[in-house]
Symmetry: C2
Subunit: 194 residues, 2 copies
């Protein structure tokens, strides 16, 4: 079965847009979507890239552009009132949820909390509510975010993506073929159909 | 008649990709495409943005991505062997050609010289050959590149784009709506059809 790896940072609104599309895309190509959280800040540091919103004019263009994409996809979106958000703990929660076979579900639920409901995903109470919704143990899962093995796994995903050429988020891989941005999903789909 | 303004820098390969699409797009929307050269380096300086190729990993991704787009559009493309290219004089030639009602044709011919034929568009001989092909006087046109009024017009296009929010190339405007990148042409088209 073909696979598309979806490297996402929860704090990246373009990753959210990708998250709303990738499962259906994979399904219609008869492929599997493999969700992998990675730390965009570390990717930027490793590659010398910078966040788009650090340029004021680009940030303005980005807010408009995000709204256009959400309308285009027919998905809800609101800019986080806390942007830029530290999503480190929530991403560890996504890694921890893999142990329960709920990595994707946790990723999607965290994205919705941040980019649809404008919730504070740095807050343990919010994270525990998300856990309940996803169907994993809230106390155990939030505690697992401090587990060195979970922290290491997130670092490994990040280093793997950088080693394979990633410089932004979301990044998709089909084998060794890299695709950057939700705006390249048509190329991802073409690659899966080859 | 609706208008779409196409701000391009000849040295930008994504602008070349936009140039291969914008006229047909405008035509099928019953709109006019207005081509305006602008100086991307000055836009970067004014906004604090940087060229994508300054990040090594991004440059690698970009070369691959450009080839994908060219295949997607069914247009020829080869990376310039002189990249990054100083296209200042060639862009003045595009402004000068407006006097002969050949601004678009000159823009398209310069793009093809640079991104299809891999010619040296800093060379006067190459520029004169382009003029002949476009149907404007080669000697007069290349001499016009030193005309202060031509230099000023190029600066004015650049400043106008920055003032209206541009931070990269190509930039498209439909009225005050800004669209950045050939990868947003579907949004440009939707805006023209409103």
């Amino acid at each position: 079965m073909k696979r598309v790896e979806f490297f996402y940072d929860l704090s990246s609104p373009y990753s959210y847009l990708g998250a709303t599309q990738i499962n259906a895309l994979a399904e219609r190509c008869g492929a599997e979507a493999v969700w992998k959280p990675f730390v965009l800040g570390a990717v930027f540091k490793a590659t010398g890239n910078v966040a788009p919103a650090t340029v004021a004019a680009k940030a303005l263009g980005m807010y408009k552009d995000l709204t256009r994409w959400a309308q285009h996809y027919g998905v809800p979106f609101q800019m986080s009132s806390r942007f830029p958000v530290n999503a480190m703990k929530a991403m560890r929660l996504c890694v921890a949820a893999e142990r329960d076979g709920k990595g994707k579900e946790m990723g999607r639920a965290c994205f919705d909390a941040l980019w649809v409901k404008d919730l504070d995903i740095t807050d343990d109470g919010v994270l525990k509510e998300i856990c309940t919704k996803v169907g994993v143990d809230p106390e155990k899962s939030v505690a697992a975010c401090e587990d060195p093995a979970i922290k290491l796994k997130l670092r490994e995903y990040t280093e793997d993506a950088v080693k394979r050429g990633a410089y932004g988020a979301p990044t998709f891989f089909v084998g060794s073929e890299l695709f950057w941005g939700n705006d390249r999903l048509h190329f991802v789909e073409a690659e899966l159909r080859k």
